[in-house]
Amino acid sequence: MFNEADLTALAITLKLAVITTMILLVLGTPLAWWLARTRWRFKFVLEAVVALPLVLPPTVLGFYLLIALGPHGPVGGLMESMGGKPLAFTFTGLVIGSVIYSMPFVIQPLQDAFMAVGRRPLEVAATLRASPLDRFFTVAVPLARPGFLTATVLGFAHTLGEFGVVLMIGGNIPGETQVVSIAIYDHVEGLEYTHAHWLSGGLLLLSFVLLIAVYALNRRFRVARP
């Protein structure tokens, strides 16, 4: 079964996925809303940036992050000069990497959902005295609920399965930055196949259950809408 190190890795993985998803929802919602509504000519540039983690090898992203967050990088250097620690090989560094790596999985479903809501319901709300912020929270967000569900689950599940970025910027520090995917890799390297089986099976099951949930719920929402 799981040994103590495996359980710690599992806990770190879940903590990372939860924090990453929450940060992405908070930062991604306004960005997705803006992308869905703007008529800015160069919006496609930003969309390409958001989609970049989809096509980049995680090691490339991890490498640049390592440089940026390390003691000689712009972010790490700044942290150091302010009396802090560089972020490379820390949990915080892991969160930053995960947020960037999972960004498209949260922003794209949200943007699609906001676009599907369209302008009309918001215009209706405006003629019923709702201010722009009021319309956003009482009309746009509830109508985009399937998008929020998809974004949450995909962002969460994708962070769970992350390997390359984590390895590059997190290192492999047990109890600090060692996540499940890396623990599995270690077990296989050490020919501990039973442990690898338990962790792999656990991750497979968790991911499958999450995706089943999202597709089932989204189907229900679709049916419920005219």
């Binding site: 009309r120 319901p121 215009e123 209706v124 709300a125 405006a126 003629t127 019923l128 005295r129 709702a130 201010s131 722009p132 009021d134 319309r135 009482t138 009309v139 509830p142 109508l143 609920r145 419920a224 809408r225 005219p226």
Partner: protein, 354 residues
């Protein structure tokens, strides 16, 4: 009054509007698709913005050179062409959405009153996707009324509905005028809806105002297209004066005379609106006696225009009310019709509009 000055240039479309319309009753904005009717309504609501526009409703200026009141700060309500209910809210919550956002002191139409007027009490618990098209539009109208608007904007609210649903909703819209003193601007491209509902009429074409005035007058003005259409008609407001139980007739009176129609269950003294199609009105020089036509009244020829081909349209005045008659040019020549000539109008059939 509502004073409007909007000038808009877009690549495929331009709008030049400068008009005043009464801030009471139902004003219909009538014109072909793409003439700018909906844009006018959206400009009134503040959903579109045009630079250097001017809009004053009563004593409130909503737009001028340096002011633009945002849509949610305008005391209006808007009924859109297609169902516009919030899919995530029940009928009741849809109604409450607007009401909750209106300060209590400005609530003149209670939600209960709006529910009653539109007959939707039995739908409150339902979700919009379980309603028929007609029911959805009734809820949308009730939701609009419940914010106690100072101006109600309706953008072809019946266009997406079949004939039966239209008949279902029309009486509700008619009753708005009598029940609540809310001015309505009603965009339509349906001749029937305008004839039935409007007090005032604005004709639009290619982004411009062709005419703006009393609906009776615009329908019968020979310099405007409505009087030349194949379904040209005069609109007459009359009053029920008598029921003839023997012959199952109801007698109506207007300032030009009396009109008999098949019996209608209406209280004496009630007001009705009639439509007299130009092609159903024939002319004689003397009062005919041996005729099956019941409705004959004296009138004076006001003007005549050729329709091209065999027909002419004659504008008549009967007791101050304008009528139209579509007859052949040959008849017009043989009767020697001239402006000012006294004739008798024989009306073959009359349509009761409400």
């Amino acid at each position: 009054m509502i004073d409007v000055r909007f000038h808009l240039r877009r690549t495929d479309f331009s709008l030049d509007l400068d008009l005043s319309i009464p801030a009471q009753g139902i004003t219909a904005v009538f014109g072909p698709s793409g003439c700018g009717k909906t844009t006018l309504l959206r400009l009134l609501a503040g959903l579109e913005h045009c630079r250097n526009g001017f809009l004053k409703v009563g004593n409130l200026t909503w737009q001028d050179g340096n002011r633009f009141v945002l849509p949610h700060r305008r005391p209006i309500a808007y009924v859109f062409q297609e169902a516009s209910l919030f899919a995530h809210l029940s009928v009741q919550r849809n109604l409450e959405y607007g009401v909750k956002r209106v300060p209590a002191t400005e609530r003149k139409v209670s939600m209960q009153k709006a529910i009653e007027l539109l007959g939707i009490g039995h739908l409150l618990k339902r979700k919009p996707d379980t309603l028929s098209g007609g029911e959805r539009q009734r809820v949308a109208i009730a939701r609009a009324l419940a914010v106690s608007p100072r101006l109600l904007l309706m953008d072809e609210p019946l266009a997406a509905l079949d004939a039966e649903r239209k008949q279902e909703i029309m009486p509700y819209i008619e009753s708005l005028h009598d029940e609540l003193d809310i001015p309505v601007i009603y965009v339509s491209h349906s001749h029937d809806e305008v004839a039935r509902l409007a007090n005032h009429l604005v004709l639009m074409q290619d982004g411009k105002i062709k005419a703006n005035g009393d609906v009776h007058e615009i329908f019968t003005r020979l310099d405007l297209p409505l009087a030349h259409a194949s379904d040209a008609a005069a609109i007459i407001d009359a009053q029920v004066i008598e029921h003839d139980t023997n012959f199952h007739l109801t007698h109506l009176e207007f300032s030009g005379g009396q009109i008999a129609v098949p019996h209608k269950e209406l209280p004496l003294g009630s007001h009705v609106r009639l439509q007299l199609a130009a092609r159903d009105v024939s002319l004689t020089l003397e009062h005919q006696s041996g005729t099956s036509i019941l409705n004959i009244f004296p009138a004076t020829v006001d003007a005549i225009t050729h329709e091209g081909g065999a027909q002419v349209t004659v504008r008549l005045i009967a007791g101050g009310v304008a009528l139209l008659s579509r007859i052949t040019n040959k008849s017009a020549v043989e009767l020697d019709l001239q402006p000012g000539k006294a004739v008798y109008a024989q009306v073959k059939s009359v349509a009761l509009l409400n």
